[in-house]
């Protein structure tokens, strides 16, 4: 029986600075051993525990789509492990344990329209989902609207890709920033307000939302008012995690462990759980 | 004792009714024989929960830092010294507390009692003056109270509160113990190897539960050095890390510890914690002529600097 705490080894292939403030970097990683790569079969919405040996482990949502080679994670520099990750250079080694958690319910989303609402650097796993859909079976899904808001233009992740996506006619991409900035010709406004403006039709549509607590606090009521029922509003949650496999007792919300029963939850599922902060 | 309790309840009731305090922190009857438990009373009708006996061992000053309310607090001698210390260290304003001082004849050591009874369970207990009556399912014993007091109480020099707004009951005679450091002097006579071996043997039982730290009124740091980043001391029960934790904590408390014994009483593994703290207490007294928690005006030597501070020992 394989020890679930032993990471597999990855090499840092490329480091991309995503944001103008240097706080978010994307790490493109490749497996050292082919059998490890084959064993790591994941779906968008899942996460992995990345190890910086000597510093520790931390959970990160998969930013890459399983249709892409290797793994990509976008890391916000906030604590011990993320700071250590930010210091890594190409060629260095990290460890990975995963894939962990429940993915987005892709089968359930087929044949539906999708409204993807993201704030800040929470865009990562949603990017994975959209890319996966575009790469595998775009025709199996209905209309796809993406609303992605950040404080200022420098903070958008995956800028080149967003540029390409804005040119596609099978996606409706709306980018917004909090306050007017010279040179920005896109939308200006907080995500909840812009969402109200866009007023997507809830019929046969799923809303997939990811963002900081403050954004969720004001965005979820807008979705409710627009008529999105809790069963069709999907969130991805964040908690402090250690084992990632439902053993260490840390990441629970009531009886559910975010690492094992999430991080993807519908609002209907969350309504059954006590309010321990999103 | 009954009079004292009545006086305590009356004083608490008056303080709450007259809104002189928002909260009374005292002791209520515990759920086991010879146990009391800290209680928090906010309504005058609840003051009858307050009690007082030889099991009121906790240092209630622990609950003071970080509170904004006006608090009436039951304080033994050692507790009152801790309150003085907390006011010196600006964790508390003097005006915030109404100190209900209670002269103390020492508190029982429940771990010592357990050992004397060889682990047998006490089902009934009664304090009878200078004796303690204990009854279990297959025994009945009457033991002298003095033998069952916690070690810190046996050498306590401040049974009467040093700072108070109201004194409940009668002042008591201070302990006749001639030398509170006798145990330490005896230990000092051992060789370094013997002392280190003893320290190692004791600390090897430590399970890093932090009961000692969390029971101590002076361990109020929001982030303790064992939890901080960068990690100064390892978190595991590796012996070296654990020894270092206790050594550093003892030094953090030097000049502040009032030997209330809360740390040792909390420890579930019977680790002899007081040796370290008492030794440092002795050193501070000998080097700086200072005893913790006795005067609001005098400040702890390790937190202040005066040009005339003794320094012959600095080499």
């Amino acid at each position: 029986m394989r020890n679930p705490f032993i990471p597999r080894l990855l090499r840092v292939e490329r480091v991309v600075i995503e944001t103008a403030d240097n706080n978010i970097k994307s790490f493109h990683l490749s497996f050292l051993m082919k059998e490890d790569e084959e064993a790591f079969s994941y779906l968008p919405g899942q996460f992995a525990e990345l190890s910086v040996f000597g510093k520790g482990e931390a959970p990160f949502g998969m930013a890459s789509s399983p249709t892409e080679p290797g793994l990509r994670f976008s890391v916000n520099k906030a604590g011990v492990v993320t700071t250590a990750l930010h210091r890594l250079e190409e060629g260095e080694m990290v460890g990975v344990r995963g894939p962990l958690g429940r993915p987005y319910p892709i089968a359930e989303l087929k044949g539906k329209n999708l409204v993807v609402v993201a704030g800040g650097f929470a865009f990562t796993t949603l990017r994975s989902l959209v890319k996966y859909i575009l790469d595998t079976a775009r025709d199996d899904f209905g209309r796809i609207d993406i609303l992605y808001g950040v404080r200022n233009p420098g903070l958008f992740l995956y800028k080149e890709e967003l540029e390409q996506w804005s040119k596609r006619d099978d996606l409706h991409l709306v980018l917004t920033i909090d306050r007017e900035v010279e040179g920005w010709e896109g939308k200006v406004g907080l995500v909840p307000n812009v969402l109200k403006e866009i007023a997507p039709n809830p019929d046969n549509t799923y809303a997939l939302v990811c963002g900081p607590p403050i954004m969720l606090k004001f965005t979820l009521p807008v979705l409710r008012e627009l008529g999105f029922p809790p069963e069709r509003t999907i969130l991805s949650l964040e908690k402090r995690m250690k084992c990632g496999v439902g053993m260490c007792g840390r990441c629970n919300i009531g009886p559910k462990f975010v690492c094992r029963d999430g991080p993807v939850f519908t609002l209907a599922e969350l309504a059954q759980l006590p309010d321990e902060g999103l | 004792m009954a009079d004292l309790i009545a006086e305590m309840r009356q004083a608490a009731r008056r303080l709450l009714e007259e809104k002189k305090v928002d909260l009374i922190i005292g002791f209520e009857k515990g759920t086991l024989p010879l146990r009391s438990s800290p209680c928090f009373i906010r309504h005058p009708e609840d003051v009858d929960r307050l009690t007082w006996d030889s099991s009121c061992e906790n240092n209630l000053a622990k609950y003071l830092p970080g509170r904004k309310e006006k608090i009436g607090i039951i304080a033994k001698g050692c507790d009152s010294r801790a309150i003085v210390g907390l006011i010196q260290e600006k964790q508390l304003e003097r005006e915030q507390v109404v100190i209900l001082g209670v002269p103390c004849q020492g508190m029982l050591d429940r771990w010592k009692m357990e050992q004397l009874l060889e682990g047998r369970e006490v089902l009934e207990a009664e304090e009878r003056g200078e004796e303690l009556y204990l009854k279990g399912c297959d025994f009945e014993r009457t033991l002298p109270r003095a033998e069952l007091l916690h070690r810190s109480c046996q050498v306590c020099r401040h049974r009467n509160p040093v700072l108070y707004d109201l004194l409940l009951g009668e002042r008591v005679a201070e302990s006749p113990v001639p030398d509170e450091y006798a145990e330490i002097r005896e230990f000092e006579r051992k060789s370094p190897e013997e002392r280190w071996a003893y320290f190692t043997k004791e600390i090897s039982r430590c399970i890093r539960c932090y009961g000692c730290r969390n029971a101590c009124p002076f361990c109020y740091c929001r982030e303790c050095f064992v939890d901080a980043e960068p990690l100064w001391v390892g978190k595991t029960i590796d012996l070296t890390d654990t020894q270092l934790f206790h050594l550093v904590r003892a030094f953090h408390l030097a000049g502040r510890c009032v030997d209330c014994g809360a740390c040792e009483r909390a420890c579930p593994m019977g680790v002899d914690l007081r040796k370290l703290n008492k030794k440092l207490e002795k050193d501070v007294e000998e080097l700086f002529g200072y005893k913790a928690g006795l005067s609001l005006e005098e400040l702890p030597p390790l937190a202040t600097f005066r040009p005339e501070d003794p320094q012959e020992f600095i080499r």
Partner: protein, 345 residues
């Protein structure tokens, strides 16, 4: 595989010899008196084993879920990283003197470490290597409440052979194949008289149990109903937030994972942690879903008696009473449970 129920007999005087005999083949762990405490330790001779005691200060969960465990070590050389898993020597161990509550607790730990989607391979190995000879509780303590949480002073769950103290002799109830293989050639069969005495001892023990704890009633309460109850505002106030109750508890299993560096590499270590510590759920962003003692006490009580009970049909508590005895402020979980239920009755 049907388990053979066999009843064997041993005089108390022979106990030390039995343990010494077992020591020739196995590591033997038993309750010993160490500096006035009863603790489970490997014994150097059968005489060290205590036969007359309440329960150990710390639970014996250490032998299955150690307080500190190296998960793996890594070596760094020339930008090459090698991970090495510790390969411990297999060590069949006989643990004598475990109380039925602590043995039952292992079945609850199994739910966390063995019965999830992922299994802890080290924990599994230790479960397989250890043989449990339990000692039934002839005189349950007032602080014991095993019968309130699905246990019994002579419960047989998780036990390979149960020793029943009749005063001068033990009747030994052999419960598993492991237990039978260990004892069948070392002990003689029990007689009718002893069996009758054993039944009497069991009945008396069960009827002597102290005050009941309303664990089942708590599990039956509606979660969202009780979660925001004002009950939680006061119940935590005296709690010091130390880890004593969680560390002594035979069913608590929360842990932390840290990396420690050595000269050329390092180790990843798992160690016990407590949901009562303020940093337990603190996120790097500074957000803490359980910022005060109120939320943390609520988590402890509800996890043990509600969340775990809902998922597994029994609370994460075996009623050993260690937390009741050792809490420095006598914050009695029995009272907490009963008051919570009482307020909602």
């Amino acid at each position: 595989m049907k388990e053979q129920m066999k009843y064997l007999k041993l005089s108390k005087e022979e106990m030390a010899n039995l343990l010494d005999e077992l020591r020739r083949e196995f590591r033997v762990v038993a309750p010993v008196r160490r500096e006035g405490l009863i603790l489970f330790e490997e014994i150097g001779s059968g005489k060290e084993a205590q036969l007359d005691f309440g329960n150990s200060r710390k639970s014996p969960k250490d032998f299955f879920f150690p307080q500190m465990e190296v998960l793996f070590s890594y070596q760094l050389s020339d930008n090459e990283l090698k991970i090495e898993e510790p390969q411990p020597e297999p060590r069949k161990t006989v643990i004598f003197g475990m109380r039925p509550c602590d043995a039952r607790a292992l079945l609850l730990l199994d739910k966390i470490f063995l019965e999830g989607e992922v299994q802890d391979s080290n924990y599994r190995r230790r479960r397989e290597e250890n043989i449990i000879l339990a000692l039934g509780c002839t005189h349950p303590r007032r602080t014991c409440f095993c019968t309130s949480v699905g246990g019994n002073p002579f419960g047989t769950e998780g036990i390979d052979a149960l020793f029943i103290d009749l005063g001068k002799t033990y009747v030994v109830e052999v419960l598993t194949q492991k237990g039978e293989e260990l004892l069948r050639d070392r002990l003689s069969e029990a007689d009718e008289e002893s069996l009758k005495s054993a039944e009497r001892v069991k009945r008396e023990a069960e009827s002597s149990m102290g005050p009941q704890v309303k664990a089942k009633e708590l599990a039956d309460l509606n979660l969202l109903d009780i979660f925001e109850d004002s009950f939680w505002d006061q119940v935590h106030e005296k709690c010091l937030g130390c880890g004593i109750c969680t560390y002594l508890c035979p069913t608590c299993s929360c842990f932390d994972v840290i990396d420690e560096k050595t000269d050329s590499g390092g180790e990843r270590i798992r160690l016990w942690d407590s949901c009562l510590y303020p940093l337990f759920t603190l996120q790097a962003s500074g957000v803490n879903p359980r910022p005060t003692g109120r939320e943390r006490m609520r988590q402890r009580v509800l996890h043990k008696f509600k969340y775990f009970a809902d998922e597994f049909g029994q609370p994460s508590c075996v009623g050993c009473g260690r937390c009741v005895v050792s809490c420095p402020v006598n914050l009695d979980i029995r009272r907490v449970v009963n008051e919570l239920v009482g307020g909602k009755a």
